[in-house]
Symmetry: C2
Subunit: 342 residues, 2 copies
């Protein structure tokens, strides 16, 4: 069932049928109705791949996610999706399972023109390659980023937000503060570690290398690394964890060691995933504007696809420290922190 069949039935040319479908205003009311009736009668469906082939656009954008399981990305995705659908783009997802190789495979779909553009929520593959791709195809980075790359990027300031989280612990009286990082080949891990260290330095607290343990984002690794910290000769009294998942794992490790959160060890996470406010005790954490990151990224991608020019390329959105139970803070009537920990 092709356009030609419709054309024959409606007694017009395929050109006219095509126009009815794509720019209806160009064809007279009478023929338009005739054609639409024919389409209806034949139950004709345009062959989308043929159209894509001819027009060289797919109206599909792809989002590359490092881990579909991670609750954090759901909010970002939702933002992307909503903005995309509103603009007649379909969104498809590619899950790399934290594997840079998979990331490259998906990126090559751009080369192959299978999608009109791409939002990367992970940027671990080769910098040069990425730069080259981004020069030739619409690409936006969100959450993660890469230094020295001229690609439009939406993220938060990971250094200052980490610093803020650690400063909060320091304000509560902690000085033996540990940090469970993400994998060090991910730039976000390095950034948050730097923020952690900056906070220590500016408060004249010694940087104890034993207090830094590298996790892999998973609950389990948070659990394991926390056990290591607890078994130190002088265990930390507080720990800042790269993300909420690992923070939850860490809390479990603390509980199972017969210790209490926050009394024995305070915990601060990152991302403010839903579970942070569900888990007992509730997680103190840094909230990222997930949805806004998503919409902003999609907005930029659309401009790129439409070859609109735009001045600002890097967007740094706000973040917020959400004080709950695991840090042990208490806010008194004057709305000031109560230091409750040696």
């Amino acid at each position: 069932m092709k356009m030609d069949d419709v054309a024959k039935l409606a007694d017009v040319s395929t050109a006219t049928v095509s126009r009815v479908l794509t720019k209806p205003s160009m064809v007279s009311k009478k023929t338009r109705e005739k054609v639409l009736a024919a389409i209806e009668e034949l139950n004709y469906q345009p062959h989308v791949v043929a159209r894509q082939f001819r027009t060289r656009e797919t109206k599909i954008i792809m989002v590359v996610v490092p881990d579909i399981t991670s609750a954090f990305f759901a909010g970002v995705l939702r933002g992307i999706e909503h903005y995309a659908v509103k603009n007649n783009y379909q969104v498809i997802l590619a899950d790399t399972e934290n594997n840079p190789e998979r990331e490259r495979e998906y990126i090559s779909l751009l080369y192959q023109k299978q999608v009109d553009g791409m939002i990367l929520l992970t940027a671990r593959s080769n910098q040069q390659e990425l730069a080259h791709i981004a020069d030739n195809y619409p690409v936006v980075l969100a959450c993660e980023y890469m230094d020295g790359l001229n690609i439009p990027t939406v993220s938060i300031d990971n250094i200052s937000s980490a610093r803020k989280a650690v400063q909060h612990l320091i304000d509560l009286g902690h000085s033996r503060i540990a940090h469970i990082t993400g994998p060090m080949d991910v730039i976000l891990s390095r950034d948050r570690l730097r923020g952690f260290q900056q906070a220590l330095i500016s408060n004249d607290i010694e940087n104890n290398p034993l207090y830094i343990q590298e996790g892999d984002f998973s609950i389990k690794s948070g659990y394991n690394q926390m056990l290591k910290l607890i078994s130190l000769e002088v265990p930390p009294s507080a720990v800042f964890v790269f993300n909420d998942e690992m923070a939850i794992g860490a809390i479990n490790a603390i509980k199972e060691s017969g210790l209490n959160v926050p009394e024995d060890i305070a915990v601060v996470g990152f991302d403010n995933i839903e579970m942070a406010s569900i888990f007992t005790p509730n997680l103190t954490t840094i909230d990222q504007p997930k949805y806004d990151i998503g919409t902003k990224a999609m907005e930029l991608l659309l401009k790129l696809i439409r070859k609109e020019t735009f001045s600002k390329k890097k967007y740094v959105l706000d973040n917020q420290l959400i004080v709950r139970q695991t840090c042990g803070a208490e806010i008194n009537a004057n709305n000031t922190l109560v230091k409750n920990k040696i």
Copy 2:
């Protein structure tokens, strides 16, 4: 940069270039190398959409998921993905956010030949339409299903597994057992409810309609419905919850009401998501073979795409009751249940 350029440089016809790319064994070693060198030199990338257009296949399959956030589907997806990649298919994801309308939109991608086949993890749209699609395109159902439909399906037996879960609570001495269901327009919800009721009936326990509350899969709804149950004149002593997320919400509601799990109210969930073994107290739940459901579904889809015939169309995989803390069971040395509840 097209095939013709490569052909010219290598001094062969486009047919030969095409053959080098798709059936290398058909061309002599000498010309093959010549062509590959030309491809290399020009950095030629085949235009995939053109190829798709000509061959009428995309080598892409789509998985339609009701909710990307739900931890349960991650395992299924992983199974699908691994089997697909092993067979040279790309997987893309479509998240319907539990919206049947979105489900239909994605399904129409099949009509448009944008994907070679589809695995539906949700089947809420019109039955007739689905039947019609499945008659003409490769479609496999997994997890959810639809009655009276001849579509290949992979799932567990939701009725008997629910019955098993509730029977477990009864064996522990409970008779005031409530059930927080999923949305009743989802067949799985109706199945598990039926299993719940069967267990009651076969143990001569009265079916108290007040003990049945409909949730919407979310943690929050589990929380809210549990509060309702607690505030009943005669609250239940145990609750079977449609999924682990809502079970976690329910546990939080119990805790916040000053009651204990499992002493005051026992809880059994469903799915065995990762958080079930992380949350305190650990969740007793029904484990589904997520990964196997995924691989099996993809295996069937591949057979469909390749037009292989296969006898068995419906696969019902095993499930397992995982006894942890929230049901209050204790297994004694003889490996038998200890009844610990009036």
